[in-house]
Symmetry: C2
Subunit: 335 residues, 2 copies
């Protein structure tokens, strides 16, 4: 069988199963979380070490002819920092691996590293080393480590995919669909106008929600994921990990204003619900904690099912309903 | 200018300079060591976090037609663990990124991960996650984190490239030339015989010297590097970082017995002095500390200049001579 038939998630599951069959890491009591969350979690002394890695391959993850090298550098770091944010951690260190074709211009690398350095400064990350290898195809692979705090009983306080509980409200930071809309503009599938142009930056220069993730931890939220595969797919990851179901109401989704202005309603909804690479945080938790969090962060936090008990600045747009899981399996999801 | 004209070290130096010009990381007091040693060093609470990354690209770093996938998996982890060993640290966590062509057989991945899991068990490392991406060319990129201990004044105890001091003796673990000889056998440039066959394992299944690195720290050694580029090149890295010179006597080099038996004297010496991917440790330190270390580890430790003050079990084969640096620059290195 070829990996193309199995797909990314199929390959990951197969390799995780194979490692488990080897009895691998099962006995390592310091490995708090391995394959299956946004970042691995290692129990260091008095805190959790978080580690994540993500790769961008030219022609696969970005369009080399249409993307400035500085934007590639920015985004390659941002997508990793977002994984640390999705755990409620603080990013610290980055290692950068470049797969370089021999004919790569050194000036392009200067631009790449300019964008990378800008991102590192903005996100508070130290670029501490890496590796340079020769390859046929350009790729940039970054590993970021971060730190999660322990509670006073010595357990890590983290946003886990498995942390959703029945009755939790679901909320997302910011607004959705912008990055996917920006990709359509960049690739020429949608027209570039004054209205749609701001979407390009949403695609090219994502801003990971580190502060929101840290504030979520302080507010008592314990479930989160970053929206990299798309809201519905990532909510699906949360549901599977938490053994929960979720209801998402289409008319309550927070859609990026420029997406609404640039696309018809159906397409805008589709972009917001399924568009990837948003790097907003999807959080679930008690309504009271979510309400408190919404007041503490400077990015909009919107739920996914309307709850009149909460203020207008915090319209909750969905509710996790663990008892509905069977119904959801039969295709009863409203969206 | 193309990167092929600049080379790997040229690219690294250029990018490090560019980051420094951005003022990057200079202000981060937790970053103890960044670009320029075997692993980055971050000051965590009460210990040092070590992090390193290394990539193997098919057709560049290994011969896909002649290398079993299990060996690729083993070596991809081993070369990273060796970098942690070269800092005197204990490896802990690994993240694995696979760049996979669509036509890769899933069965090959199973073998790859079998070798990886074997290496992880042997080396005490937990495989904690990673990334799977589509690419034209197979590559495996691993990041390993590890731990270094602090001394009782709160400073990390590490093997640094910059730690060599005038009068230090230089020693290497094991014997040299085997991995380079094995590559010649594997590629068909040297004949595969009963005598040369053991060299294949030296090339395909390196065993990082974690225990020796940890023991070196305990013995008071503070300078080390792993031999990945070749003894002379890696000793050169130490000399540059330490602003020191070194003398290596050809007739005292510890040459792998199977190399001596399989190649003529000149070629054997060349393999031992310049062959890469040995993953032995090169250490420098006071003769007394090195003598103590030699008695504590179960791998031979050999110096690089004979010193009659030391026992026959520890023939010192060289001496760092900082005052000779100018002479060495003029080409006066005895080897």
């Amino acid at each position: 069988m070829k990996v193309s038939e199995l797909g990314e998630f199929g390959v990951i599951e197969r390799l995780a199963t194979l490692l488990a069959a080897h009895g691998h890491a099962a006995q390592n009591e310091r490995l708090f979380a391995g394959i299956g969350d946004d970042a691995a979690v290692w129990l260091a002394d008095g805190h959790a070490l978080l580690a994540t890695t993500d790769t961008m391959v030219a022609g696969v993850h970005f369009l080399p002819d249409k993307t400035a090298w500085a934007d590639v550098g920015w985004k390659a770091l941002a997508v990793n920092v977002s994984d640390i944010a999705a755990m409620g951690g603080r990013p610290e260190l980055a290692l950068v691996t470049l797969n370089l074709p021999a004919e790569t211009d050194v000036e392009s690398l200067d631009e790449l590293y300019g964008g990378l350095a800008d991102a590192a400064e903005t996100m508070g990350v130290a670029i501490a080393g890496g590796d340079i290898v020769r390859a046929d195809q350009f790729a940039i692979s970054i590993t970021v480590t971060g730190r999660g705090e322990f509670d006073n009983t010595g357990h890590p306080r983290l946003l886990r995919r498995s942390g959703a509980r029945e009755g939790d409200v679901i909320a997302v930071t910011g607004a959705l669909g912008g990055a996917a809309g920006g990709l359509l503009v960049l690739s020429g599938e949608a027209e570039e106008t004054d209205t749609s142009r701001p979407l390009l930056a949403r695609h090219l220069r994502p801003c990971p929600r580190v502060a929101a993730g840290l504030a979520a931890i302080e507010a008592g939220i314990r479930c989160g994921i970053d929206i990299s595969d798309g809201l519905m797919a990532d909510l699906g990851h949360v549901c599977v990990a938490s053994r929960a179901g979720a209801v998402v109401w289409a008319d309550k989704l927070p859609i990026d204003a420029a997406v609404s202005a640039s696309f018809d309603d159906k397409q805008a909804l589709s972009l917001a619900a399924t568009g990837g690479e948003e790097y907003e945080l999807l959080l679930t938790g008690p309504a009271s904690a979510m309400g408190a969090l919404a007041k503490q962060i400077d990015v909009p936090l919107r739920g996914i099912e309307y709850d009149p008990a909460l203020s207008a600045s915090y319209p909750v747009l969905a509710r996790l309903e663990i008892q509905r899981m069977e119904a959801l399996r039969r295709g009863a999801m409203p969206l």
